[in-house]
Symmetry: C2
Subunit: 311 residues, 2 copies
């Protein structure tokens, strides 16, 4: 693995970059990609960002004009595994020169890597990288990096946030990033559809295991009636775990007729991954998933029984 | 007005403190009071915190054992006006020796004052104060101060958050404050009642002025049926303004039969205070209030008409 100083020298030594984000891009992968592109431009390098389906809420991120060049170097940002590249990026698999990431679980195939699992966001790594290069943190770069850091930390709320994260964010604020705009767009704006969806989902809330488990669901019928797209379904899984006394929150989403995608979020040493393993799934201790076939009633009953045994 | 150095010398020169919070105490006034009490104990001073009705979510804040002493010095923390003291503190009005606050609008009656309106939280002031005294930031003090700073900034999301705020929070994290516990308790926990209330309130959502205004309400009937206390009604007012495209969010709460308390929250240069002035109310540009008499239908119609004229 490279160290950050070596990454800086690598970027200075190469040119004509394709910068890859992961599929279903979020604030951290997009903020990283655009910030890197702007930084490379400052040192006279050409680059383009290769991504897929940027959610409209991220349209404010500053972008460079399209540049004509033949790709010589491929860099990925915030991509933890080959399978996480978009379907439009399959030709890059095995051809990535440098991978910059903050996922401890990183298995991405690349000729060189820099992975710092203690960084709350990939954008936190890039801030430190730019300090080791002849790159000025402009207003645009600060906006990109702040976006990545604030979104990956739930606005400094999640446990990945460190004192170092706070200090990097403070520096970005010194460089004039638009925290008011970004925080409002990222954390205080919901579409009307999202409000309708949350309302419908609240109506499905069930408690079991003496209130230690809460379950919500969406069905194909509900989604069709509400006219809601898949990209508006984000964030539902965090709803049931928020409730006082709930140790395990379960979200059931019907993806196809009688086929449910289950998301499990847990508090206080309840292992979500172990719970999901019973149904052939897995994940992290506090956030895991699985799929279960069956109609709403059958699948709910399976989960209730499993939860009551488990808790 | 004193400077911070003088405040530090004042606290060292006096003894036997009553520390006053404001009524309906929040994280910042409680965090300030308990932190000051712990700091004073370190330099050999006795103190007690005078407050009223600590919400159960703040029970984790570290408290000193009750001490016996005759009051010699009265200090208020985060109290902007005499009227904001609890009804159990009226005997202190006009007898406060030192007022430490961060409200630019401060009109509190005190013999000496330190007010810094650029501090995001009163606890941010106390952090800097303790650096000018022989006070060590213990784990307990760090927890108190982080609680005040995170709650008054919506976990670093509101526009009062500065680079300095982030750096103070970073230092508190260096001192080992329990950010995971505090953030979860403050920002990710809702009571079952709260969930029921939000669900009921979502069902009342109305849009007017081409979707630029959203209105929600609670009635005495709803609250009685749900069995919800007044302290669980916090935070409702932020719901309608969150919706994409909404410039003015109005929350109507029936406080007595046919008597509504109206909270108005606005975005992007829509002046909430001007809007409320039409009904004899007022407040800040982005957050204001008023009261209107009448039944639900009449009051709603009045607000809809006013909103359509105003936007």
């Amino acid at each position: 693995m490279m160290n950050l100083y070596e990454v800086a020298r690598f970027l200075e030594a190469h040119d004509n970059y394709d910068i890859l984000t992961h599929a279903y891009p979020d604030g951290d992968t997009l903020g990283s990609a655009f910030a890197l592109s702007l930084a490379l431009a400052q040192i006279g390098k050409k680059s383009r960002v290769i991504t897929t389906g940027i959610p409209s809420s991220f349209k404010y991120l500053p972008k460079l004009d399209e540049q004509e060049f033949e790709t010589q170097t491929v860099v990925s940002v915030d991509v933890a595994a080959d399978s996480l590249l978009g379907s439009n990026m399959s030709q890059y698999i095995g051809k990535v020169d440098l991978c910059i990431d903050h996922h401890g679980s990183n298995t991405f195939t690349a000729k060189a890597k820099f992975v710092d699992k203690f960084a709350a966001a990939n954008c936190e790594i890039l801030y430190k990288l730019f300090q080791r290069m002849d790159v000025k943190i402009t207003h645009d770069i600060a906006n990109c990096l702040y976006t990545g850091i604030s979104t990956d930390t739930g606005c400094f709320r999640y446990t990945n946030t460190t004192a170092e994260t706070m200090r990097v964010a403070a520096s970005l604020m010194d460089f004039g990033c638009d925290t008011a705009y970004i925080n409002k767009a990222m954390f205080e704006t919901k579409t009307k559809n999202k409000i309708m969806l949350e309302r419908a989902v609240y109506d499905t809330m069930k408690y079991c295991a003496d209130g230690k488990c809460a379950i919500i669901h969406t069905t194909l019928d509900m989604i069709e009636k509400l006219g809601i797209g898949d990209d508006e379904m984000e964030g539902l899984a965090s709803i049931p775990r928020q409730i006082e006394g709930v140790l395990m929150g379960i979200t059931m989403r019907e993806k196809q007729k009688d086929f449910f995608k289950i998301s499990v979020r847990t508090n206080e040493n309840i292992n979500a991954s172990d719970f999901c393993a019973q149904f052939g799934g897995g994940g992290h201790p506090a956030a895991a998933g699985c799929t279960i076939e069956g109609d709403l009633k059958t699948v709910t009953e399976k989960l209730v029984k499993a939860a009551e045994r488990f808790l």
